[in-house]
Amino acid sequence: MSKKSVDDLQAIADAVIAEARPGEQIEAHVSRGRETDIRVYQGEVEHFVSAQSQGVGIRVIIDGRTGTSHAGRLDEASWREVLEEARENALLGGVDEWAGLASPDGVPVVEQQLWDDELDSFDTARKIEIAKELERLALAADPRIRIDDSNYSDGASEEAFATTNGIRSSGRSNSCYASISVMADDNGETQTGWAYALGKNPGEFDLPKAATQAALRATSLLGAVKPPSKRTTVVLDPMVTSQFLGIIGSTLNGESVVKGRSLFAGRLGEEVASPLITLTDDPTDSRAYTATEIDSEGLAARRNVLIKDGVLQMYVHSSYSARRAETKSTGNAVGGGVGCMALQLTPGTKSQEELIAGIEEGVLIQSVQGLHSGVNPISGDFSTGASGVMIRNGKTAEPIREFTIASTLQRMLLDVQAIGNDVDWLPSRAAGVTLVINDVTMSGE
């Protein structure tokens, strides 16, 4: 959230917590948002969504019991009903001696640029034109391309937050993107590709780049074959690394650690990864897509080094998990739990091409499917569908698809052989970079 205040919402949040009775802790979160969503197909607007929403969420803690409630309206009668409901729910919860709100910890907020005036006043007709232009560019990129859909989306939200522990803030943020999804046909075979354009406002979109990238993703897979099963070296494209890091981040969640669900519990100070790995969660880095000023408990977001030169340094915590672990919050409250906010690996010195040049035989993994079904962050089992390109004698060779790659999270971290210099600030909670991992099982024929 930006420091610009949103006074009417802050007034509601303040009014809610002013209702606190002796012995009650209350947290109020009040928000209002609007969105535009445009889809173009064959030069025509297929749908245009224009909408506004609002809501109030309240958490009440009484004698170690927690209740929450929410509703999609902001009028006083509605929030009073929500407050009563949250109180009633709190009476039903079990007593958790560590339950409680965060206390102000004096860590200063690093201000971020979360609001763009140009986006706020951007003309609707031009938004439609962007989606149409992206469709035209993708069609022109290659004669084998058909369009699945071309989209423009933006959203703006205003939020206010207040707690009986004295944390108070409000602000607003907005964002936008354009995306394209295409199909490429050749000899009765179809492959798909997609890409997006990002920017603080649509003026920053690189539409030709997105169109070319989507077309290339689809056409480069034409003629792909199913590879043989074998152990091999994999090179993860930055997009795939970003997804992998997201999972690694979840294993360093302090709440999972205190509840005995983390495979890295009890391993602080140990070598859990290749010495090449330095993993940092830094939502104060303005280059990160998920850069932010405060966590969901209202504490300042901050830079935390989780793994340094392969050695596990710390877990991430909310005030709840920190109390249980007898440590301090690291500013990582996310939703009602704990999570990493903006992960990045310290990059290496070589480009992806230079890294591939050093590999006699391997596979460049360009996309993965089924991470939610094939990776278990508690046991560490890792198995995912993939597509990509074979690497032979330091060069990329034929495209391959319909195979899986498998290992365990523990081994993959230790088996990292190189990190690229190609950091890509993707729209996710982890930045991408090329990653080379040895000894992964590829299953195909």
Binding site: E44, L92, D96, L263, S379, S383, T384
Partner: protein, 471 residues
């Protein structure tokens, strides 16, 4: 206490004015979708009921279709002024500006209730719901000393919807769903393993008179314990036997999504232009049935106001029909099939599955395993994902065993399976006679989640690629 249906809260003349407003800029079709959803949930973790939550989400989505363009706006303000403002925004979004005046008249409301709910969740004290969590926790922890962590979740939702459109459709439905989930972590010499099971039906609190939370908790815990001695799953292609009621997601991904008419119309499905052709083994008859009351994907009407139906999609291996929503059906000049669904009033409807399942074959399930020299037996599948344009799909196996010499032997660690839809459908070579529905699921498409059910008898796929690490 039963909630009264939404039509009592909205004057049909107001709805007619809103629909007329939607058509004011020349659109051929306008629609009001009103939703009032109440939900309650409670979660236990680490032995403590951590959080009891509840919510009320109500609002309206107004859709206006003008030629090829759909305008859509939603609002949480259900007053006439709020609805009119949303209708105006939707109309402007789909505007061609002919400025004619339109009138819309609605007939009498058609009331549906997807299932007769015996015990409405609102009538049950929350404390009784929370008691179930402690039962699950105690039972799961008592199964084996290796169980180190248990979490359990209860939730119910009561979703009342009203749909009125300029074609005169005026219908309501009340959809009550109740679900319970248990997950367990077991710790052994080789690290931690997890077990998970869930129980959910489109009914009220009577769910817990009919089904046992204790048995559910026991299954989740035993799954985690048995996996402690699991070996790495094999790597490569081999026969796979899928236990009844555990693998409906295979069909959901391998062909269900590809039979959705919106994807078919864009040529984004390997099943486009194939009606009347053999697309699966002749053993396979695939049905999507929103009328299967109780089941997780059951609906009285879809989210466009059309009654749910039983639709045969594949008969004896031959593709017979796709699934349809309002827009696609109107374009083809045919009736919709009751498959137009949306996550909430904030979303546009699109073609979605309901309960999707394969009918029984003739084989005894034991005989299917005995007929398999070497392969994998999957007792529980996890989630999946498909690329409908290529047919390539993956899904996870969360409980699986090796088959050696026609016998189920060692448990296997988790991994993904991968296949190509048309190929896998053709490769189904044995189909059991023990049909069962599977666990409640949430299907995601274009960022929207809707509840779906699936089911199948025990079956064998001649060859699937297992994504493990063992040679």
């Amino acid at each position: 206490m039963s909630l009264i249906d939404l039509s009592h809260e909205f004057d049909s003349s107001v709805l007619a004015r809103v629909l007329a407003k939607g058509r004011a800029t020349g659109a051929g079709f306008s629609e009001v979708f009103i939703e009032d959803k109440r939900s309650m949930g409670a979660g236990l973790d680490d032995g403590v009921v951590e959080q009891v939550s509840s919510g009320r989400d109500s609002g309206a989505g107004i859709r206006v279709i003008n030629g090829e363009t759909t305008g859509f706006a939603y609002t949480a303000d259900l007053s006439e002024a709020g609805l009119m403002a949303a209708a105006e925004a939707a109309a402007a979004a789909a505007s061609t500006g002919d400025g004619h005046t339109h009138t819309v008249s609605l007939g009498p409301v058609k009331r549906q209730q997807v299932n007769n709910v015996r015990i409405a969740p609102q009538t049950v004290p929350k404390a009784r719901k929370i008691e179930l969590l402690s039962i699950a926790n105690d039972v799961a922890r008592g199964i084996d000393g290796s169980i180190v962590q248990v979490s359990a979740g209860y939730s119910d939702s009561t979703r009342r919807i009203l749909i009125a459109n300029s074609d005169g459709v005026f219908a309501t439905d009340e959809q009550v769903r109740t679900i319970f989930r248990v997950s367990a972590v077991a710790n052994g010499d080789g690290g931690m393993q997890t077990g998970y099971d869930s129980l959910g039906h489109t009914i009220g609190f009577e769910l817990f008179e009919e089904e046992s939370v204790a048995e559910l908790a026991e299954r989740a815990a035993r799954q985690a314990v048995s996996k402690l001695r699991a070996r790495p799953a094999p790597s490569g292609a081999m026969p796979v036997v899928i236990k009844c009621g555990s693998g409906g997601v295979l069909f959901h991904e391998a062909c269900g999504h590809g039979l959705e008419a919106d994807l078919v119309a864009r040529g984004a499905s390997v099943y486009a232009n194939r009606v009347g052709e053999l697309v699966a083994s002749p053993l396979v008859t695939l049905v999507d049935d929103g009328t299967m009351s109780r089941e997780w994907g059951a609906i009285g009407i879809d989210d466009e106001g059309h009654a749910s139906q039983r639709n045969v999609l594949i008969k004896d291996g031959v593709l017979t029909d796709y699934m349809w929503d309002h827009i696609r059906a109107r374009k083809e000049g045919r009736a919709p099939s009751g498959n137009g669904r949306r996550q909430s009033y904030e979303h546009l409807p699109m073609v979605r599955m309901t309960n999707t399942f394969v009918l029984n074959g003739n084989e005894e399930p034991d005989a299917i395993v005995r007929a398999t020299e070497k392969g994998v037996y999957v007792a529980k599948l996890g989630g999946g994902q498909v690329n409908t344009a290529t047919g390539d799909f993956v899904f996870g196996m969360t409980e699986a065993y090796l088959i050696e010499n026609g016998q189920i032997t060692e448990p296997l660690r988790e991994s993904n399976l991968i296949g190509n839809g048309p190929q896998v459908l053709a490769d189904i070579d044995l189909l059991g006679n023990d049909f069962a529905m599977g666990n409640p699921g949430t299907c995601g498409k274009d960022g929207q989640g809707v509840p779906v059910g699936d089911g199948q008898p025990t079956l064998r796929v001649k060859s699937l690629t297992i994504g493990g690490t063992a040679a």
